[in-house]
Amino acid sequence: MKTNKIYALIQVELKKLYRDPMILAVLLLMPVGLTLVFYFALGNLYQDPTRPGMSHFEYLVPGTMGYAVIYMGMMVALALCEYREAGLLKRLASTPTSPYQYLGSLIIANMFIGVFQALIVLLLSVILGYEAMGGLPGLALVCIFLGLLAVTAVGLGLITATIAKNAGAASGLSMIFIVPMMIFGTFLAVYDEMTYNIARYTPNFYATDTLSRIFNGASLSEPVIWKNLLILSIISLVIVVAGIQLFKRTEFR
């Protein structure tokens, strides 16, 4: 019965995507638009001597996938604020459904959505000529990393929705975590030691780093990949638990 509740709530979140044209547009246009912009702007840029033959667009593909997932954090924060303002969270709290069941369904639904968005980036990039190595096992591992990153994004969304009084404030607050992650963990092309050290504090750095290695043909048994998996797992767990605990304290009001 508990599973039925979670399944029903996941369905609600997924139905919202294809029934709300605005959300569907953001879901599809954001990864597609971002990939196309990078392809046309950076597809012929070959300036990095450490990566001969790789265009700047190709360098950015793994980071763009990570960004598509992190962006979900803002969508989650917005949705929670809207549900709260509409009294829906209060209504759900009056049923024998635990906050863990509700928030768990939110995490699972957004894991799917985040991974789906990232795979749109990958698919379009491959169509545009990007060569992703790693095969199916590599792709499976990529999806695990993206899933963990999505959990982190939902956790950050919960923290944002706890602090923000309304949806407008939530979208502004989200930028506090999105922008540093976007710059340091995703798109920064050339690292010096300082920026590299800052980037290591952003969760998507570990996803971007691993995705780059897998797509560039690294062996899946490379220790750094599993070290990254461990670090990202710990970060996502800490952030999502903190997010759930903080959001629960709002009593869904």
């Binding site: 019965m1 029903a8 609600v12 919202k16 029934r19 009294g87 829906l88 209504r91 024998p96 459904t97």
Partner: protein
Amino acid sequence: MENARKTEIRNEIVIEDLEKNYGGIKAVNGLNLTVKKGELFGLLGPNGAGKTTTISILCGLLAPSAGSVQIAGFDVKEDLSKIKERIGLCPQEAAYYKFLSGKENIELMGILHGLDKATLKNHSAELLSQSDFADKARRRAKGYSGGMVRQLNLLMALISDPEIVFLDEPTVGMDARVRRRTWEYIKSLKDQDKTIILTTHYIEEAQSLSDRVGIIDYGELIALGSPGELMEKHQSRDLEEVFLKITGRRIAEGS
């Protein structure tokens, strides 16, 4: 012991010395009240009197600052999940997913209350057949009129066939015709032996529907009795006059 249990069951809702504080403000101030099984109890009061706060505590949405509340024999502090299985809340603001259909909204509430598929299907069909939007039940609720949305809000509270129903301003925004029909519907719930707590700003609604009425102001219960008893006690023609006399006097005393 057995007698005590029977008393608890007969008194479906037992509130003792209930308090809810927000900083220095007492939203509910030492409320004592019992509601019997099958009773339709009207909770009246001016804006900000503490009606919605009280209902929120009874539904487990807010923790009380002091005092105790027992619903169907269960304590809100200890057995909240058992209480939530037995109650249905129709909140003041119509709370529903706009991108879901009316039917989907109603059935979601049933699933969250743990109904099995067959029961859910039966209850949903039965409720929808009594509503004004049966023919539009599969359309997205976003396009529903104000009256339909209010009905949807009510039906979402009833899908689980709850023993105790909290109706917080259920007829706000309904036109006179739909409101009258909703009154009849609420009366039919009472005939099903459901215990109902109704808050409303329409005093004639409370007078027409309630077995007993409690008037609260500044979080305190200031009058309690059947509409007839209150009218007799305060020598008034109707409940509205009683309400104005009592709450008006407190305003004058306070100024």
